[in-house]
């Protein structure tokens, strides 16, 4: 069995969940999201983020707007859409279920 692929799929799901979660607190631009993810060591290389953002935006979970920055060119700020919020809620509950389920299996012995 391809464990690498399983791990990648798992991380991908979690990562998407985390992006939505970060954006539910504050609108943010890519670098803010990256900083948050890197702090919790969820992401190895930054390049990974961009295709995911693009995918979520295309799925209608995110929207973005351009905002002036204190220095340099304007930044792309991402925000959750209503649909994004619904998806996040669903993911949060299923995440809890999943953790409990996995925990119960792991700690049963």
């Amino acid at each position: 069995m391809d464990f690498e692929n399983a791990k990648a799929q798992m991380r991908k799901g979690v990562l998407e969940f985390c992006i939505l979660s970060i954006l539910s607190k504050n609108d943010a631009y890519a670098t803010d999201i990256l900083n948050a993810l890197k702090k919790s060591e969820l992401i190895v290389v930054e390049g990974t983020l961009y295709p995911l953002l693009s995918r979520q935006k295309n799925a209608g979970l995110l929207s973005y707007r351009w905002e002036e920055s204190p220095q340099g060119p304007p930044r792309k700020y991402y925000a959750l859409t209503d649909k994004g919020r619904d998806v996040l809620k669903e993911l949060e509950s299923s995440w809890k279920d999943l953790i409990e389920a996995v925990d119960s299996i792991i700690h049963r012995n």
């Binding site: 990648a8 991380r11 991908k12 890519a30 670098t31 990256l34 190895v44 290389v45 930054e46 390049g47 990974t48 961009y50 295709p51 995911l52 953002l53 693009s54 995918r55 295309n58 340099g72 060119p73 304007p74 930044r75 792309k76």
Partner: protein
Amino acid sequence: MKKTTQIHIGGRHFTIDEDAYQKLNHYVESLKMHFSKDGETGKEINEDIEQRIAELLENKISNGKQAITLDDVNETIKVLGKIEDFEYAGTTDEAHADAGYSFRRENRRFYRDPDNYYAGGVCGGLGSYFDMDPLWIRLAFVFLFFAKGLGLLIYLILWIVVPKARTTAEKLQMKGRPVNLSTIKDSVSEEYQRFRTSDGAAAARTGFENVVRALGLVIIAIFKFVIGVIGVAFLVTGAVFLAVIIMGVLGFTNVFGHVQLWDGFYLTEIHTYFANPTHLYLAIIALILVVLIPVIALIYGGVKILFDVKSRHPVLRVFLLTTWILAFVLFLTLLFVNIPNSPVEAEGTDSSVIESKNYPHLVVDMRDNILNKHITQYRVLGYRFRYSKWDEALYDNVKLNIEASDDDQYYVSIRKKIKNVDLYNSDEYMDEVYYRWEQEDSVLLLDRYFYTDDDEFWMFAKVEVTLKVPEGRGIVIKPAVCDILVPQQRQTYCDDVPAGKKWMMSPEGALLQSN
């Protein structure tokens, strides 16, 4: 000192070292290539990443340091990660799993493999196409080679027809692997590895591989030998043909006398089919071209193969081919135009009575009517011509035949035969053949030669003289006359007896010697 350059990325300007720029540019291009399959979305991703690159690079700039260095770029790339490190780089992964990344047989293409070859890489390419070890395909070809060279033929055709995999993308298609950034990278680094280890590779080869390689070298050697043989064969065949043709034209051999254009039509009799000499000349010129062009092409081809001459003269080739076709068509046309009007052969006889009442017998003598003329002898298509420049006439021997007369008179009959004249004008042509004789008392003087104008040679005229002797009368055959007598009579009247004898015509119609 280092060369720097200016770049604009993510809405910002940077001064960057040349080597750093090369690296960065390569990285950005590789990202672009990777995401280009996602269209607009991919473009957006690229823009976002470029913006991030700009941000990261900006952090490297400080008051003391204005230009981006190679180290800066390397660190930036490390942070962002290489395409291969993007764990879920695709934007629509599921779809890719179905479409993008499953290259099956239908995505494969048959290329010749430039990295796995002994001759043209055909077997290597076939191996890649069918996912087989090329060894088995090579063995199959060797086996087929012994089936009357079939393998060689197939191989040569494939070699010519199938393109070589030149680019990395083509090499991947050949192997049925998807053409994307990571496979291209893998492929390139594979190639690099092979290049690096090629010195050591020979030592690492197993005995079996050595045997296969040796076999391959033998096949190449055989192949080169065969090509050489073909070249020599071309050259020799062409040269022999050319030599024979030249010798035939110059009259050293009678080779054309044996050449049949079709059953019963000998090349040397080609003139008998033409009533019009202009047509005959044209046909001969056309025929020479028809034969000579392929002969020269053979020689040239042989030289090209043997000496590996790469020169190409497409204009010359087209010209020669066109000339050949035109000549061939012209020849056939002339032949078929002339054969139905098949020229007739005409003959006419002119008899004269010889006055002989006052003489006991007739003395037959000959005069050499070209004695004081400068004569050149020609031989064309097996025919001899005696040409006199002085009177621009062609001379030829007459033949004399002696037979019994039907009455009591001596007669001289001149029979002229001509060929290649059209039916309606044959009489006029007949008058173009001149033969003279005269009687001086009891002496009949016959010219040794008849003649025609030099432009009438194509009539191939013949003149036969018949002397008719009445029963009970006699003739004296002078020695000179022997030269023009028909062979059988020459034997009887000249060779078997002393010349100058008197002969009497018997009632049975035969000349008998008398005193």
